[in-house]
Structures are given as C-alpha cells and as structure tokens.
C-alpha cells in the first residue's frame, strides 16, 4: 500500500546517521505515512504512487541530520562531536584570517588618509584598490564586515554572523563575474575563484555548524586572537611591503600554507603527548585547515603554469604543508574515538 511513498521517505532518511536511524527510523516512517494516508483505499493508492516528501519535510530531516552530525553536546557520538568542534574551530580560524585581512585593509586605508600623521605616506603599490564595479566604500564595508562577522561569531550571535558573512561574499563574487564577463581580470583566473570558494563560500556554508545546541567555543582566547594575529602576522608583513622588502614573500596562498604548517608544528608536541584534553580536536581542525590551504595552493598554482620557478615554489609549499600536517594526522584520526565526552549543554531543553 505505502510502497513508493515509503521508499522515497526512507531514501531521505538516509541523510541521518546510522545509529539514529536504528533507533527512530521505523517510528518516523510510521508518522510520515500517517500524515499522508487517508484511510480511503482509492485515494491512498494514488497518494502512495504519486506523492513524495515535500521540500519542507526534506529540509527538516536535513536540519536534524546536520545537528546530529555536527555534534549537539551530551548525546552526540564522540566522532560526530569531534567533527563538529573541529569544523567550528576551522571556520573560526578562516574567519579570523578574513578579519585580519579586513583589519589590514582598514588600517592601510586610514594610513593613506593621513590618520597616522607621524608616519610617511604608504607606497602606492601596497594600497588596496577598488577592483570591479563597486565604489571603494563597498570594499571598506566588506573589510569591516569580516571583522564584525568574526567578533559576533565568537560572541555566539550565530545567525547575525551567518547573515553578514553571506552578504560580505557577494561583492567579491560580483567582482569576479564582472571581471570574467568584461575580461578585466587577466586570464587565467583560477586563483581568485579558488580564494572565493575556499575562503569565503565553503566557510560561510560551514557556519551552519554553529547552532544553539553546539558546544560553545571559549570567547576570550578567540577574541584576543584577532589583535594578536594582526600584530604578529599582518604588521610584520605590512612593514616588509612598505619598506620594499617583500620580493621574497610567498603569495597569499603560500602564506596560508606556511601559517597552517607552522601551527601544525607548534601543536605537534601536544598532539604526540596526548596528555591534554581536546588536543585531538585541534589536530582535526588543523587537518581541515591544511586541506583548505592545500586545495587553494593547488588551484592557484594553475595561474603560474607559465613560470617553472613559481611552480617549484608552490610544490615546495605544498610538500612542507603535507609534512607538517602528517605530524598531527594520527592524533586527528584518534580524536574521533578517544576524546572525552562533552559536558551537557546548559541550554538544552
């Protein structure tokens, strides 16, 4: 009687983790069929043949699946909890990179406007341009938006952060499309697209891992990470660029690989000792970030195919990244089964 309709719904339920389906699937199918079937054999025969789960129903199952896979505190299996925490940490790390870039852009703009009167004017070569169809104010807003996204995400205003981040990636997409259609971006243009997808789109989509039931991340260490990273990474780079000593610096993709490799090296002793609780989640986080940085390096190298030297440099950066992430990969694999169970979430029910 309920053949096709039931089959279609069970197909949707495959989105859910196996352990959850084992416990709830039959009940969910019974409730779903109850919601459709009328008791009239003729009508039910037609319904079971023609009907299927609505988009709203599919969305509700997808939402449930996301919550279960990305960890919901006390009752999530450890593997899912570890993945959820690692994805949240990785998203925050990428948002931190974007916020530092935004802060860098705002400081450069302020510098060029003479806000730091005691400094000589910055060289024109390092000033941010206004590429694409947008006026400069849009790019200031985008720079500012990434700082806001990072801060509100850390402060746990998840929905606000998601909305602002979704808006912040639009001007860059428009710039890329504009450049593509008007041929103002020199070809090939794999790198900028790879940047947009891997540092904007994917992290913004992954922000769905931040939800009410998610184990919250500590606020202060992340908030302090913004000025610390700006002072320790962006300011020295800015100083090198301003003094004309940046010729040996890698491009942004290479820099991203090197920073993740350094973070892996710094974390390796902790990952190997396994004495600190939560070490596995960080190893998994760094592995995710290394995958992101590695993919960006690979795609952006496509823009350097004309230059054997740059290809060699790119491959060297990739090898360094792989060697560094290998130091924490074992711990990352262990994290999925051996991290301690998370404490109950205070906001649950």
């Amino acid at each position: 009687m309920s053949g096709n309709l039931e089959r279609r719904y069970r197909r949707v339920l495959r989105l859910l983790p196996g352990w959850y389906r084992q416990q709830w699937e039959e009940d969910m199918v019974a409730a779903f069929l109850d919601s459709w079937l009328t008791g009239d054999p003729e009508a039910d025969k037609y319904i079971t043949k023609a009907a299927g789960p609505s988009w709203a129903e599919v969305a509700s199952v997808s939402g449930l699946a996301a919550r279960l896979y990305l960890g919901n505190g006390a009752d999530a299996l450890r593997r899912y909890f570890a993945w959820g925490q690692a994805i949240r940490c990785a998203v925050l790390a990428v948002m931190l990179v974007n916020a530092v870039r935004g802060l860098d852009g705002l400081v450069l703009t302020a510098w060029s406007r003479g806000v730091f009167g005691w400094l000589p004017a910055p060289p024109a070569s390092i000033l941010p341009g206004s590429p694409g169809p947008w006026p400069p104010v849009v790019w200031y807003l985008v720079d500012y938006a990434w700082i806001v996204v990072f801060v509100v995400l850390v402060l746990r205003y998840y929905r606000t952060a998601q909305v602002i981040a979704a808006l912040a990636i639009v001007p860059d997409l428009a710039r890329l499309l504009y450049g593509q259609f008007t041929a103002t971006i020199p070809s090939p243009t794999v790198g900028p697209w790879a940047f947009w997808v891997l540092l904007y789109l994917v992290p913004v989509l992954a922000m769905t891992a931040f939800h009410r039931d998610a184990q919250p991340l500590p606020r202060w260490p992340w908030l302090l990470a913004l000025p610390a990273n700006y002072l320790l990474v962006a300011v020295p780079l800015l100083a090198l660029q301003a003094t004309g000593n940046s010729a040996w610096l890698p491009d942004f993709s290479g820099l991203y690989c090197m920073l993740i490799a350094l973070a892996c090296l710094a974390h390796a002793p902790r990952a190997w000792s396994r004495k600190s609780a939560g070490s596995g989640v960080w190893s998994l986080t760094l592995t995710l970030l290394a995958a992101d940085a590695g993919a960006y390096r690979i795609f952006s190298t496509a823009d350097y195919l004309h230059d054997p030297h740059l290809i060699t440099v790119s491959l060297a950066e990739l090898l360094i990244l792989m060697a560094a992430v290998a130091l924490v990969a074992t711990d990352a694999a262990r994290a999925q089964t051996s991290i301690p169970a998370p404490p109950p979430h205070p906001h649950r029910v």
Partner: protein, 107 residues
C-alpha cells in the same frame, strides 16, 4: 525550553500520543501556527527523551505499521509545569507593562 519542545510536552500532558498524533495536537494547541514536520518532531522527541522528560509508552499495530506512543515522565510533567508558570509570569509582566486589562488581577 524551545517553543516546539513546550508544545510537544503540552500535547502529551493529557495522555500518551504517537508521532502523528503529536503533530496534530500541536497544530490544534497552537491554533494552526505551529505545523511540525516529521524531521523536526523527532529532533524534539529525541532531545526530550535524552533529557528524561518523555518515554515510550507502548506500541500499537496500525495498517501493518507499528505506532509508538510517548508519554510524559514525572520529570517531564514537572518541567512542563515550571515552564508554563514561567511563561505565564512573563505574560503577566508584559500585560502589565502594556496596560492590558486583567494584568493587575494576575499580578
């Protein structure tokens, strides 16, 4: 407690119900404002069961399928009463602030 959890517990307050029975009761209780999807309902049921606020009551065969009925636990009844009191108190404060008639009698 989320609005959905509150409605689901309320739907079970006068006796055990199966999944779709809860969906119908919640729609009626909310005057049609809350229409739970099955995925959403079982997300709530799973959380409430994990918190020990509801439990399985029995299973009954219906059209060749097993319907599982759920009921409130003692903790669930207590949590619902506390939440209802909290919401009522909040409503009294809001009504008083808005100067709506009846607020003074309640509060």
């Amino acid at each position: 407690m989320t609005g959905h959890a509150f409605f689901v517990l309320t739907a079970l307050a006068d006796g055990p119900r199966h999944g779709y029975g809860i969906v119908g009761e919640v729609a009626e209780l909310s005057g049609g404002r809350v229409k739970l999807k099955i995925g959403g309902l079982y997300g709530v049921l799973e959380r409430l069961a994990a918190e020990g606020l509801i439990e399985a009551d029995r299973e009954e065969a219906h059209d060749g399928r097993l319907r599982r009925y759920y009921r409130l636990t003692r903790d669930g009844r207590r949590a619902l009463a506390e939440e209802a009191e909290l919401r009522a108190a909040t409503a009294r404060v809001v009504r008083a602030r808005l100067g709506i008639a009846g607020a003074e009698a309640a509060g």
